[in-house]
């Protein structure tokens, strides 16, 4: 029962690895890096009702919605007949930590074992789990992935602003496509050009800044929440598109914040519990490296001046301390209240907190902290929206509309 099919060296050549498309902007770049390493990968975009049905069938119904969707998406893909189960592998992220999410891979393996016993499941993790897998994140690969996240965040931020205000519909999307292709090519070729951040950041910013925008005033709506539901249109019922159609500007905090939140947890725990050791010191150095990269991007964004820079992570940490301890490291932990506070501080008063129905950490860090954040930011207008296979879109949208009505009143 506990044993599972390994992803072996031979399979690198023969197998196509299916990857659920969690962040539409970022994941294309990540895939290019995997391809450069010699893996055959394919992003899954299937999002019919069958995805949810397969999820319900294969996962305990009280498991969280992201697990249900991701596993449903895999099963739906395998059932479709498009992929030969003998030459297909599945990739899923594995975070570790006290949240249920660390069990996704096991739930997926259980489901796969029942239906396609020959299909291996690959773990994408940065903590050295599953060492016997032929899919490995090497140090140089890690660095490339980090840069891909930075570029992805920059593209996402620019694109979100431009598509809200663009005068000629479609320009922002075209610009996004252009840069995704260009950066994808760089990573796929294995070129070191991606290191020329100053030049590339600037070029991206200038390119997007050249798009003609209206100066219409729109309601800005921040999106925070559980990492998968926050970014994945499949999970959040195309929330960003809905906000755009309601005449709002979606403001989505960067993926790097989550990466850095995970990285900082590796050494803050050691500090909290008097448990410092060589490993935790190395992690801290790693964190500092990532932070220096974030600062570089922020600096260039500030200099260029057309787009609001990402939240400085050390600033987020300070903000968090007002509400909750950085000891809260399960799920998105202290990051959610910190992001809500940072959004409110930067004038994005309207915040949607997306969460899977019954998400355990979110009881504490999202609904549990809203009151305190509203007390400190009287204009904050926060709504928590639950996502779940049974929750209807109408119900969700109606609550968002209430939030928007509040926003218009202020």
């Amino acid at each position: 029962m506990a044993d599972y099919v390994r992803f072996t060296e031979d399979m690198i050549k023969t197998h196509t690895i299916l990857v659920p498309n969690m962040l539409p902007v970022h994941f294309r770049l990540l895939m290019a890096i995997f391809e450069h390493q010699g893996y055959k990968v394919e992003l899954l975009e299937n999002d019919s009702r069958a995805v949810v049905d397969e999820g319900l069938k294969n996962v305990h119904n009280d498991a969280c919605y992201p697990a249900l969707l991701v596993i449903g998406q895999f099963m739906d893909a395998l059932n479709s007949g498009t992929y030969d189960p003998n030459t297909t592998a599945l990739m899923i992220t594995q975070t570790g930590g006290g949240c249920r999410a660390s069990n996704y891979i096991h739930l997926l393996r259980k489901a796969v074992a029942k239906n396609y016993p020959q299909v291996p499941v690959v773990s994408l993790n940065f903590s050295g789990l599953e060492k016997d897998s032929a899919f490995r994140i090497t140090a140089p690969m890690f660095l490339r992935l980090l840069y891909a996240v930075l570029y992805g965040d920059l593209l996402m931020t620019c694109h979100n602003k431009c598509r809200t205000y663009e005068i000629n519909k479609g320009e922002a999307k075209a610009m996004l496509d252009k840069w995704q292709k260009r950066l994808g090519d760089i990573f796929r070729r294995g070129s070191r050009e991606y290191l020329k951040t100053k030049k590339l950041y600037r070029a991206i910013l200038d390119d997007f800044a050249s798009i003609k925008l209206s100066d219409e005033k729109k309601i800005r709506v921040g999106i925070v929440g559980e990492i998968y539901v926050k970014y994945s249109p499949l999970a959040n019922n195309h929330l960003e598109d809905f906000l755009l159609s309601e005449g709002c500007e979606p403001v989505v905090p960067s993926l790097l914040e989550f990466v850095m939140y995970c990285a900082s947890g590796t050494f803050t725990d050691a500090e909290f519990y008097d448990n410092k050791n060589t490993q935790s010191r190395i992690y801290k150095l790693g964190y500092k490296l990532i932070y220096s990269k974030q600062k570089e991007l922020i600096k260039i964004m500030k200099e260029q001046g057309s787009f609001e820079p990402l939240h400085d992570f050390e600033h987020l940490r300070k903000l968090a301390d007002k509400y909750i301890s950085q000891g809260v490291v399960m799920g998105e932990g202290w990051l959610i209240p910190a992001e809500m506070a940072a959004l409110a501080q930067s004038g994005v008063d309207n915040i949607i907190c997306t969460q899977p129905f019954g998400c355990l950490p979110n009881h504490i860090v999202a609904k549990g902290m809203s009151r305190a954040i509203k007390e400190n930011n009287p204009n904050a207008n926060i709504v928590a929206i639950d996502y779940d296979p049974g929750a209807t879109r109408v119900n969700q949208e109606n609550r968002i509309k209430l939030m928007l009505a509040n926003a218009k009143r202020v």
Partner: protein
């Protein structure tokens, strides 16, 4: 210039309201009408009425309401969110109001107007309000208005779970079955709505000042009004129920419309609505039957499974009576010696099972040939105890046994039985001619059969007609499989999207089936169910449901023609087997004089103070319900079955009386909640050693829960966490200098697991408490982070946390004492478990490992389930007490939580002990148990043990737990007999 008119259209989940105002804001016209889910038609009808009065005027127009959004979009008419519309209406009509409470069909809303404007709405889980009341009224077999009238004559209020309609139903049903007065139940339903609004929506903000009450239910239902006014402590001046309450939001909508520019003639608006395209968002499935021929073949096939009949007037000889007093329906069967049916009855019990059955028994006695002798009788179902006591029925048997007997009569080789009744889904897998595993629906997906009925009635159909409609639907709607509240809104959405009643009827049938297969049985493929499947229960009389089941499984199943009567038929078979030649059943003469009275008293047997309902049948015969232990049941006999849950609970409680310093340096409060049920010995020793007086919060109770209810920010968190809020309030009231409640990501490492976390809720709940209880602050609520595995960390953190008491030097020694105390406690529990197991074996008792979390020993959390187990003669030990006796088995999941790691070990241990079984207690909303329960099940079942899970929440539904436990006992006995021969088979086929 003509007066500018504005039209507001409020399309709610159950009603349509229209209002016309003039430019001065005066209401010229208003109408309120139920739409019975025919949204577009009703709006059109109302507009036509307006057209007749205002054929030539132009209107500015706007739509609002939960069902109006889609319509507004597709008709290209402006839309305003309904809470905002209400806000506008209040600003115009009642500018001095401080707060507004509005209840609609499915939504509840609060607007705070003074002291920071805030508008709130219930979340997606909080069930309906108006629709909830309707559903409850249906359950009682009356209209909402009749419910209201009854409530005005109430004498007492029962606690009813208010979070969601399904839960409330589980609270109400046992009350009804136990004979509680309908007046009291009615009032309790309204109180539940009030509690939900006040706690779920206000979330800590006090509702005070002048409060405006809006919406249909609050306008029409006096009992609901009274409950709100009383709970909020308002006087007449401050509770305002405006004349135009039901159309108030539509008025606000008209006000909003008045601000917009474009205006149209009614005819143009009508056309816009008429031409509104239904969206093509709905997902549809295959039709149930492609042709009438296919349907006829289906009917023919199922006709074959029927019983013989005999005439009650002419038959002479022996007869046996079976009664199934189900949750919503009552079934009676009288059979002959050779299994032919003399009499049968199936009907809704309308909340009065005893009356219904007595009445039917009278009918039987009157019609019966004098030469018939009833030689035995048996009863099963929710109302078993009451009916058995009231009508002197010979045997009471558990439902699962009754159903198995009946199914085996039709299909001796049956592999799988699925019974969908009014409120339950029961499935059992049969192996070796005995019940091998039982699956019941959990609190969340219950209410299946009665749901279709409620829905049919809401649409204005009776259940039979409604389900017939679905048979030939061309595009059944896919409504998903989830709890009925969600299904309710899925249905609404489908209707809005233009699905026909036929499609919805078929969709509902299919949803119920999907719920059963994927949620209750949790099957991946039909093969898991076996070859010979018998379906039964009233819901399967519905051909559409039956067909959906066959389609989903891809195979034919057996539905006996007496599908709805199987429980009663099984009882009659049982009565026949066990007949001793006579029956004690109430006689015709006694029945003629039969009467009973019902009253409520409070049991004083112990501190639980259970609310008892006493039904007296005269001559000193009483039936008592509501008691959680045998004491209140009027039976003096003391239960001596050993019970570790009791022992652990009293050990923890007793700590407070020990070790207190003579001259304390301060008073620390420790909440009797969550991790404290495990670590109390540690913290108690630590603080008393440091010279603090230690006070615990009081024992948990419903009252304790209500005490802190207003500070709960997330109403979907588990009940054990929610109770913590009450404990904090209690400690604050007890005057502790500070409350100590540490945050702990990590639990103790007990070895054998991949990691040793706490669940996120246990780990970080103090953070939530601090931010949501305004009485707490950093100085009276000390909640440091620490890792108990690292002694030096505990010492450092405690020194820092207690700095102001100047006891730095004493901390290290006190921490050591604390570790020692915890260790002693663990050893004591292990020893006690050992004693219990030995004693049980000497007394030849079965042993149950009641496996949950440390806090499941809280009597408000477990609702006394452990006492139920011992009342069946089985000894009880706990998961922690036996976990160390086995190694962790190989697992298919990441084993990273300490409390949960114990479950796997305990399960593994049970598999090595022939006289033990495990029952897993799962708190509703525990996401982690979604991972553990499947794993515990597979550990147990891989070694031939039974898996029983009891889901517990704030509802106190011991009735369902009792059925599970008795079924477990029956199954254990069944498997015992299967080993030694085929006694079971002979019996069942008899």
């Amino acid at each position: 210039m003509a007066n500018k008119l504005s039209l507001g259209i409020d399309v709610g989940s159950t009603t349509v309201k229209t209002v016309i105002i003039d430019s001065d804001g005066n209401i010229l016209y208003s109408k309120y009408q139920r739409h019975l889910s025919r949204v577009k038609e009703t709006v059109t009808d109302q507009l036509k009425l307006i057209q007749a009065d205002y054929p030539d005027e132009e209107f500015t127009v706007c739509i609002t309401g939960s069902a109006g959004l889609g319509l507004a979009n597709s008709a290209e008419i402006p839309f305003v969110q309904e809470v905002h519309a209400a806000f506008l209406a209040v600003k115009n009509k009642q500018p001095d109001a401080d707060a507004v409470i509005e209840l609609g069909g499915e939504d509840a809303k609060i607007i705070f107007l003074t002291g920071g404007v805030e508008q709130r709405m219930n979340g997606s889980c909080a069930g309906g309000t108006g629709a909830f009341i309707d559903q409850m009224a249906t359950l009682l077999g009356i209209t909402a208005d009749e419910l209201d009238e009854l409530s005005l004559r109430a004498q007492k209020v029962y606690p009813i779970a208010s979070r969601c309609g399904v839960f409330a139903k589980s609270d109400i049903q046992p009350l009804l079955n136990q004979g509680a007065r309908r007046e009291d139940v009615s009032a309790s339903i309204f109180q539940a709505v009030v509690d939900q609004t006040v706690s779920g929506l206000a979330q800590g903000r006090t509702i005070e000042g002048k409060v405006l009450f809006l919406g249909g239910p609050l306008h029409f239902l006096k009992g609901l009004q009274n409950a709100f006014v009383k709970t909020l402590g308002l006087d007449e001046e401050h509770a305002v129920f405006p004349e135009d309450g039901p159309v108030f939001v539509a008025y606000g909508c008209a006000v909003y419309a008045a601000q917009s520019g474009d205006s149209w003639h009614i005819i143009d608006i009508l056309n816009k609505i008429k031409n509104a395209k239904a969206s093509d968002d709905i997902v549809t499935g295959e039709p149930l039957f492609r042709s009438h021929a296919e349907y006829d073949e289906f009917i023919e096939r199922h006709k074959k499974c029927d019983l013989g009949y005999a005439d009650i007037r002419t038959y002479k000889g022996d007869a046996y009576l079976g009664i199934d007093a189900g949750s919503t329906t009552t079934k009676l069967v009288l059979i002959t010696d050779d299994g032919r049916i003399l009499f049968h009855y199936y009907s809704s019990n309308q909340g009065q099972p005893l009356d219904k059955i007595a009445e039917q028994l009278k009918t039987i006695y009157e019609a019966m040939n004098p030469d018939i002798t009833i030689k035995g009788s048996a009863v099963t179902g929710y109302g078993e105890d009451l009916i058995k006591a009231g009508l002197s029925v010979d045997h009471g048997i558990v439902e699962t046994v009754a159903h198995f007997k009946a199914a085996a009569y039709f299909c001796p080789d049956v592999d799988f039985i699925i019974d969908i009744g009014g409120q339950d889904i029961k499935c059992f897998r049969i192996k070796n001619h005995s019940i091998d595993s039982i699956m019941l629906n959990e609190a969340c997906s219950s209410g299946c059969g009665s749901f279709i009925q409620t829905f049919a009635m809401a649409l204005g159909y009776n259940i039979a007609d409604f389900s017939q409609l679905g048979l030939f639907a061309e595009h059944p709607v896919d409504l998903g499989s989830r709890c009925t509240v969600f299904m309710n809104s899925s249905v609404k959405q489908a209707q809005k999207d233009g699905a026909s009643v036929e499609d919805i009827s078929a969709g509902l049938s299919s949803s119920i089936i999907k719920n059963a297969i994927y949620k209750v049985i949790r099957a991946n493929s039909p093969d898991e169910l076996g070859r010979n499947i018998v379906v039964q229960g009233g819901t399967f009389l519905n051909d559409a449901v039956l067909r959906s089941f066959e389609k989903e499984l891809g195979r034919d199943v057996i539905r006996p023609a007496i599908s709805g009567l199987m429980g009663a038929f099984g009882c009659a078979l049982y009565a026949k087997e066990r007949s001793t030649g006579g029956s004690a059943l109430i006689s015709k003469d006694e029945l003629a004089k039969f009467a009973y009275t019902s009253r409520n008293i409070q049991c004083g047997g112990c501190t639980a103070n259970c609310q008892l309902n006493v039904i007296s049948f005269g001559k000193g015969r009483n039936f008592i319900s509501g008691n959680r232990c045998e004491k209140g049941g009027g039976k003096a006999k003391k239960n001596n079955v050993p019970n570790l849950v009791e022992y652990k609970y009293s050990s923890i409680l007793a700590l407070e009386k020990t070790g207190q310093p003579v001259r304390p340096i301060g008073k620390v409060g420790l909440p009797l909640a969550l991790s404290f049920y495990e670590l109390m010995p540690f913290w108690h020793a630590l603080f008393t050693e440091l010279g603090f007086e230690v006070v615990f919060s009081g024992e948990s109770s419903r009252e304790m829960y209500y005490l802190g209810q207003h500070t709960i920010p997330s109403d979907t968190v588990c009940y054990p966490a929610k109770l913590t809020h009450g404990h904090i309030e209690d400690l604050l009231d007890k005057g502790a200098d500070f409350i100590f409640y540490p945050c702990m990501s990590y639990n103790m490492d007990e070895g054998g697991s991949d990691n040793h976390f706490n669940c996120p809720v246990v780990a970080y709940y103090p953070e939530l408490l601090l931010r949501n209880n305004p009485r707490l602050n950093e100085s009276n609520f000390i909640h440091p982070y620490m890792d108990l595995n690292i002694r030096k960390n505990v010492v450092r953190v405690m020194k820092e946390s207690l700095k102001r008491f100047n006891i730095k030097g004493k901390v290290a020694a006190a921490v050591d004492k604390a570790y020692a105390a915890l260790d002693r406690y663990h050893r004591d529990i292990a020893k006690k478990a050992d004693d219990i197991i030995r004693q049980a074996r000497e007394e030849n008792r079965r042993i149950i490992v009641l496996a949950g979390r440390p806090y499941h020993i809280d009597k408000e959390i477990n609702h006394g389930i452990h006492k139920l187990v011992t009342s069946l003669g089985m000894a009880v030990v706990t998961e922690d007490s036996v976990a160390s006796l086995a190694h962790t088995p190989k697992l298919g999941v990441l084993n990273q939580w300490t409390y949960h790691a114990r479950l796997y070990k305990a399960a593994e241990f049970v598999t090595t002990q022939p006289d033990m079984q495990l029952i897993q207690l799962v708190s509703f909303g525990c996401g982690i148990d979604a991972v553990t329960s499947d794993e515990v099940r597979s550990i147990l079942e891989s070694k031939g043990k039974l898996y029983t899970q009891l889901k517990i929440d704030e509802i106190n539904n011991l009735g369902a737990a009792r059925i599970r436990l008795r079924s477990l006992v029956a199954a254990m006995e069944g498997s015992a007999s299967a080993d030694t021969g085929r006694r079971a088979q002979g019996e069942q086929n008899g």
